[in-house]
């Protein structure tokens, strides 16, 4: 099936452009000719069954997964190969992981300041001050000196968001940010994400949280078997999916 191009939906201010991206894991074709463009300030939710390639897509954007062919452009610049240039470009693309991945030997504050100090070359005092502001913004001002192991999952994920924000990224990637959380902690993380979306941050969110998608997303991208099957506004997608595969998927997650 031909991937649906979303060219017609967008204006001119492209922050992210994926064209003809291909990726295999051995015999498995996990990304099939992906074309996707995201505008500055846009919030895109990527949804799809497990194994549909949505996480891989997310990781391909900052090249944590190398791709076989095609191009990824961030702010007009093609993603360089491994090395210093790639590291610099990555610092402009924040990422929040499913399993938080805080540096377990560093305090919450140190987790947030590491990037600004080591990558951006900020003085420590300045980085500390900004980090405290960010921790305050995610509601964890008083946890600055806590070690990751002393924090709940929801708190760890909020520190991870603060860590990503500290780099002042142009784009934030969320790879199933709430999937590893206990149900009672999901909303504290989603609240932070909604607030971020409202502030104009460009975000790509791999998530099944329909509430978040309806509330904050401009667009929903539905993936299945390595392809982008359908792209629509949240309301259209959830209420009137056009493809058979999207209908089938939605019926499965809604029946629970």
């Amino acid at each position: 099936m031909q991937a649906i191009s979303d060219e017609r939906l967008i204006g001119s201010d492209h922050l992210l452009e994926l064209s003809n991206v291909q990726k295999h894991f051995g015999p498995l074709h996990v990304l099939k000719d992906i074309n996707l463009t995201v505008d500055r300030g846009e919030v895109v939710v990527v949804i799809g069954p497990s194994g549909s390639g949505k996480s891989t897509l997310c990781r391909a954007i900052n090249r944590l997964e190398p791709i076989d062919s095609g191009t990824v452009k961030v702010d007009g610049e093609p993603l360089p190969a491994e090395g210093k240039a790639l590291a610099r470009l990555r610092s402009d693309v924040g990422m929040v992981f499913q399993s938080f991945n805080l540096f377990s030997h560093k305090t919450a504050l140190e987790n947030v300041t590491l990037g600004p100090v080591k990558v951006r070359g900020l003085r420590k005092a300045e980085a500390d001050e900004r980090a405290r502001e960010l921790l305050d913004r995610v509601g964890l001002a008083e946890k600055a000196d806590a070690m990751p192991a002393q924090l709940s999952g929801g708190q760890q994920q909020r520190v991870a968001i603060a860590r990503a924000l500290a780099m002042e990224p142009k784009l934030l990637l969320f790879d199933e940010p709430t999937s590893a959380l206990d149900p009672e902690m999901i909303s504290e993380v989603l609240d932070v994400m909604v607030e971020l979306a409202g502030s104009g941050m460009t975000m790509i969110v791999v998530s099944h949280e329909m509430g978040f998608a309806r509330k904050a997303a401009h667009r929903v991208v539905f993936m299945d078997e390595g392809e982008i099957v359908e792209t629509a506004t949240p309301a259209d997608f959830f209420d009137n999916p056009t493809s058979r595969r999207a209908k089938s998927f939605l019926s499965k997650i809604l029946s629970h």
Binding site: G83, A87, N101, H105, L114
Partner: protein, 215 residues
């Protein structure tokens, strides 16, 4: 026992040499072994192969042979140092291969997700290693490193056969002077090694407690 007391300065000098051999080759092995471990996990294949080759060859070579290579082989290549230096070279070359494997296992014990997170905030390979991987790896490997350094302490005694006046060499010299003092000399020397290795274990377990992280 009188003979032992009479010869205490010589015996202490022997142990001082043992301590110097242990500390110098210990520090050098830690540095070189870590470099090897980093080579073995780095993204450049030829470095990985070189690291693996080194460990496979050196770790499976008897230490005495390594000593023969340094003490008898290097002079043949016009490389001349003191015999103590040759001993330190041999001990370092040998111990590094063990340090490498211990540190590498420590590196592998660091959560892959944290390494990805470090890369994602733009840390290059070197800083990812220095800021995130190695600090955590070293905490994890303090107990196995202790064993490596205890082995090193005892391995310094191989230098007895390579013209280094360390504790075991002094033992043999004194034993030769007075065979009737063999047992007191043996016990004293054994006790000396035990004191050194106990001190080592004690220091490392204190270090371990100090750097322990709440997990």
């Amino acid at each position: 026992m009188d003979f032992v007391i009479e010869q205490r300065t010589v015996i202490l000098e022997g142990f001082w040499m043992t301590v110097r051999l242990t500390v110098l080759s210990g520090v050098l092995s830690l540095l070189f072994g870590t470099v090897l471990a980093v080579m073995r996990v780095c993204p450049i294949p030829p470095l990985r192969w070189a690291g693996a080759f080194y460990v496979t060859v050196v770790r499976n070579t008897p230490l005495t042979l390594v000593f023969v290579f340094s003490t008898f082989g290097l002079p043949r290549l016009e490389i001349r140092f003191s015999f103590v230096t040759f001993a330190i070279i041999a001990l370092t070359v040998y111990t590094s291969s063990f340090v490498c494997e211990v540190v590498r296992s420590g590196i592998n014990s660091v959560a892959a997700g944290e390494i990805e997170a470090a890369r994602a905030i733009g840390l290059p390979f070197g800083q990812t290693l220095g800021q995130v991987v190695l600090p955590q790896a070293f905490r994890a490997v303090i107990p196995p490193l202790t064993s490596v350094f205890i082995a090193l302490t005892k391995n310094t005694s191989i230098a007895v056969a390579f013209s280094v006046a360390e504790a075991t060499s002094i033992l043999r010299r004194l034993q030769n002077q007075d065979a009737s003092a063999t047992f007191p000399l043996l016990l004293t020397t054994a006790a000396g090694y035990i004191v050194l290795t106990l001190f080592l274990s004690f220091s490392f377990s204190r270090l371990e407690r100090r750097v322990a992280v709440a997990r």
